[in-house]
Structures are given as C-alpha cells and as structure tokens.
C-alpha cells in the first residue's frame, strides 16, 4: 500500500490549527513517513489549480480547519470534499464556527461599516468597500463575496469526523491522525476526543459543588488556584464543555471558555451551560436571582463564544 494522501486547508481561520498540527512533536516524522501531503498552504507551495487537477476521491483524507465566511471558503470546501474520501472538520472553526462565528451577532452590513469606514484609524471618506469584481487600469481583479452568516463546515458539505478545540491539543490531534493512519477511525459523524464527558470530570481542581451568591469576572478576584473556579463564582465553562484537553486553563487559574464544544449528546452548548448555571445560583428569591444573573456581563458572547453558528439560534436577528 502506498502512502496515504492527506490535504490540509484553512478557510476563515487564524492558522492556530495549522500550528497545532505541527505541535504533535516527533510524531510529525511518523506522519511524514506514512502520509504524502498533497496540499497545505501554510507549509507547502501547492496552489488551487494543483488541487483542481486532482481526481475525485484521490485524496485519502482532508483536515479542514476554518469557518465558512465567504464564497472562496465554500468553493474550496466543496472542491476538497469532492476530491477527498474522508473529510475531517479539524478545530473549532470548522466544527462549530468558533470566534469568527461571533460575527453572527451582527448584520454583515454593520460589520463592513465598522471595519472599512468607522474604526478610528480608518480614513475612508468615499465610504467605498472592497468589491467582488474590480477594474484596475491593467485589467480585472476578483474577490470572494462574503456570506451574511458564518457557517461551520458540515453546514456546507458532508463531514465524516470532527476534531474539537481552539486549537485541538496535540494529544487530540494525534488521536485523530493515529486513527487515520492505522485505519481505525470510529463511526462516521464521531467527534474525536479522549473524553466526551464534561471537562469537570478530568479537571484536577477539587469541586465541592457550591452554590454562589455572586458571579465574578476574572479580573475581579484572585481565586484560590487549588480549588474549583466555578465554586468561587468564576464562570468556568467546564460543566458544559467536552473534556479531552487536559483542563489546562482552569489549572492556570483562568476559567474554561468552552473551546472543545458541547459534551457528548448535547446539541446546544449554550443552553446546557445556562441550565447548569440555573442550579448554581444560591437563592430562591426571583429578584435576587435576577440580580445575580445580571452580573454575567455578556451572556451571548460567553455562552456561545465558540458555537454560535451551530447553536439553535445560529445568528442574531439584525433586521
């Protein structure tokens, strides 16, 4: 059997997933021995036209990171899907939309207006935006068209596996790659992680399950770094987040923000967190409960930091 043909691509993403792939350490040599990389913009000089010439189903697996923000993301996703036997949504953007998905709290028009006209450092009195087709003196230039709503990969093409994390930790990446290289991939549609239970289960900070009278923002208290952060009133998302990362953020005395997505079987991570929070508030008085809940500075951005595009809400109504 020849080497496995593997493609890696980034759509609307930060490049952290590409660095995360390199972060598997020595195992990158195992990967290089077992697989031939046929496309990887961050590391290799292969172009879209090279991919266009590949036969359908000729790539064994594509690790696709990044959200679907515009027509080029969508076009490349569809092209790589057609050329690949196995499509893996790698990292939070492709899996659930992630940070770029926060743009779904706004209309596309207001995003454009802010970015290209209103920021204090922008001088754009003509109020012009970048255009999909532009005539310059030498000829024509094209840009992708932005979609009004940011989507995850499986909302555009059929996806075989999902790898969580912003970015996935090296051990999660290797779990997926090892399964790919040894032909032991799980059932189609699986999320690949060492755990599918809540992060709290693997977090070493002892949890007493305390109820709280007040929620704190991370800069408002110095928590006891040896105790559960949620018990101390910090909004740690570990109760509603899939484990498998190693719970490093709480161990650095910072709350989990939920980047490994929902626990197994849960559709909407934000709803799960919200319902868990309801049982945490130490009061039966509606007025007091409201006061405590109001201390959460940014419910939408906190509950859906990484998963708005795949949530039941998907986006804010902005008309």
């Amino acid at each position: 059997m020849g080497k496995l043909k593997v493609a890696l691509y980034w759509a609307s993403s930060c490049g952290g997933c590409d660095i995360a792939t390199l972060a598997i350490g020595d195992k990158i040599l195992d990967l290089a021995a077992a697989a031939e990389i046929v496309f990887w913009p961050v590391a290799m000089d292969l172009k879209y036209k090279d991919v266009e010439q590949m036969a359908e189903q000729s790539i064994d697996a594509c690790l696709f990171n990044g959200a679907i923000r515009h027509t080029e993301d969508e076009h490349v996703a569809k092209m790589l899907r057609a050329k690949s036997k196995t499509m893996i949504a790698y990292g939070s953007c492709a899996y659930e939309g992630c940070i770029p998905g926060l743009a779904n709290l706004f209309s596309m028009e207001s995003v454009l207006e802010r970015v290209y006209i209103d920021t204090p450092s922008t001088d754009n009195q003509a109020r012009g935006y970048p255009q999909a087709k532009v005539k310059v003196p030498e000829g024509d230039l094209e840009l992708p068209r932005l979609h009004g709503t940011v989507r995850a990969l499986h909302q555009i093409v059929d996806v075989d596996y999902f790898v969580p994390g912003c970015p996935p930790e090296p051990k999660t990446t290797w779990l997926a790659l090892e399964a790919l290289l040894t032909g032991t991939l799980p059932e189609k549609g699986s999320v690949i992680s060492h755990s599918h239970k809540a992060l709290c289960e693997e977090c070493p900070l002892p949890k007493e399950g305390k109820k709280v009278k007040k929620f704190y923002r991370p800069h408002q208290i110095i928590p006891d770094a040896k105790k559960c952060l949620l018990d101390q009133g910090l909004l740690c998302y570990g109760i509603a987040t899939r484990g498998g990362c190693g719970a490093m953020c709480p161990q650095a005395a910072m709350p989990c923000t939920g980047c490994y997505g929902p626990v197994g079987g849960v559709i909407d991570q934000g709803v799960h967190f919200l319902s868990a929070l309801g049982s945490l508030i130490d009061s039966t008085d509606p007025e007091e409960i409201k006061r405590i809940a109001d201390e959460i500075a940014d419910p939408a951005g906190t509950f859906y930091r990484y998963s708005l595009p795949v949530s039941l809400l998907r986006r804010a109504r902005t008309e």
């Binding site: 952290g16 040599l29 990389i37 912003c166 005395a253 910072m254």
Partner: protein, 275 residues
C-alpha cells in the same frame, strides 16, 4: 495585458493571492497583493467584556497569538490604569521570549526559510520543511521539533496553553511560575540560544558564503527600499514587549517615534476596492 495569478500565496500566516500584469514586452506592468479574507474582529468585539480581549483578539493569528494576547493585555493595563507588578511583567516578557523562539523557528524552518535553505533553483515541491529535513538531515529536523516543543511547553507552563494562552489580566497574570518550572525554563532557554547559534551558522554557510546566491539576494530586484517600524527601548534598541514605536525612513533616519497609545496621530488605514 497578460495576468498571472499566484493563488493562494503559501508558507505564511494569512490568506492572500497575487495578480501580476505583464505588458506586451512581457515586463511587469503592475502587481496586486489581494487579501481575500475578512472576519470582522473590529465589530464582533463590541459587547464583549474588555477582559476577554486577550483571548478573543489572539484569534486574529494562531501563528503569533502571544503577540496579540500581550498587546490586548497591555491595552487592559492602560484601560484599568494599572501597572503590572515587577514579577508579572517579567513573566509576560518570559513568555514572549519563548514565543520569539517558536515563532522564529516557524519562520526560518517552515515558512520563509525553505526558500533560502533549499536555494533559488530548487523545485517548488522541495521548498518546505520536508525538503529542509531531507537536505539538512533528520537529526536537524528532530532538533527543530524539540526546540519548538520545549518552548511551547514554556508558553503552556506560563500562559496556560501552548497555542492561544490565557494568562493575561489587567495589571498582571493569572499564574505564578514555580521555582521548579523556573529552573527548567532556564535550561530550555540555554538550549534555545545554542539552537539559535546553530541556525545562524546554517544561514551563514548556505547563503552568506555562497557568492552567487548572495549577489542575487543583494541585487536590485530583491532590494526593497521602504520605511521600517518597530518597538524600541529608551536606547533605540529593539524590544519585543514594551517601549516606543519607532519609524525609520529607507535610509535609516528616524521619521517618527511615539508611545503606542498615540497611534492615531501617526497611523491611518485606507481602503482599496480590490483587497
């Protein structure tokens, strides 16, 4: 006119394509670097808590998240009008130093460097990290991997995570460095210096000592006369954590120098319809 498209541009963080127009004689008439990408951080940060900015803004770039994380953390210092403690400042600078090692390793061995290491005549298929390991040997490849891994460990130990750290807070950091970790970091730092020296030697042997290659690099086609901007300390020496922004003209003469918070007096963004 003939149009040549390079799409996508490769071996750097970020999306881009280049359109090159050739005139009837086959000479370059003009070239356009187009960025076909917009996520809208400027907008979707609105409504988010200020203290979340270090973690949100670093998603601009996952190759250099530490730079964005610390820039936002310093903005929080400014916003809350607090000075980080001396220890917190050192911890932040220590993380940045480890990042400096990982980032330059990424740049030299994986992104831009393969052009130099493999040489100007090498085929496109070899101008990458695998070609570099093939040319310089698996042992060198292992050293590159080890250096990156060790320094990502330092970033994770100090910052909470190896990629997209979480430790930045207004006025400080979320976590102290234990004596045991400090000693281990010191050891890793010494190895990183050795690794840096080895890397400079590779550059010297392959590029600076190759006359043909050096002549090409120094030729007019490869010389970019431009202004430069960077962060400097009070003696105008480079500083990656704090100081003033200094701009020099193509001849190296100082053009402007300002505190980061005065950026609006010196910088303006403009919008082109084609990017």
């Amino acid at each position: 006119m003939t149009k040549i498209m390079i799409d996508p541009i490769t071996r750097l963080e970020g999306h881009g394509k280049i359109a090159i127009f050739l005139d009837q004689e086959g000479e370059v008439a003009n070239a356009y670097l187009q960025i076909p990408e917009l996520r809208g951080f400027e907008k979707f940060c609105e409504g988010r808590p200020a203290e979340d900015m270090p973690q949100i803004m670093q998603r601009i770039c996952g190759v250099c998240p530490e730079a964005h994380h610390l820039a936002s953390t310093k903005a929080l210092d400014n916003l809350f009008r607090v000075e980080p403690t001396a220890a917190a400042r050192k911890i932040r600078e220590l993380l940045y130093s480890a990042f400096f090692v990982t980032d330059h390793t990424t740049h030299f061995y994986i992104l831009a460097g393969p052009d130099f290491i493999m040489g100007p005549e090498s085929p496109a298929a070899e101008r990458n990290i695998l070609g570099v390991i093939g040319k310089l040997g698996v042992e060198l490849g292992k050293k590159v991997i080890q250096t990156r891994q060790q320094n990502h460990w330092v970033i994770q130990t100090i910052g909470g995570r190896g990629i997209h750290p979480v430790f930045g807070l207004p006025g400080g950091v979320s976590k102290a460095v234990s004596e045991e970790d400090r000693a281990k970091i010191e050891e890793i730092a010494a190895q990183a210096v050795d690794f840096g020296r080895m890397t400079l030697k590779i550059f010297e042997d392959l590029v600076l000592k190759n006359k043909e290659y050096l002549d090409m690099v120094l030729s007019d086609a490869y010389t970019h006369r431009t202004y430069y901007m960077g962060l400097v300390d009070e003696n105008n020496r480079v500083n990656f954590y704090d100081g003033k922004v200094r701009i020099v003209d193509p001849k190296g003469k100082e053009f402007a120098k300002y505190a980061p918070r005065e950026y609006l007096e010196h910088l303006t963004e403009r919008v082109e319809p084609w990017t």
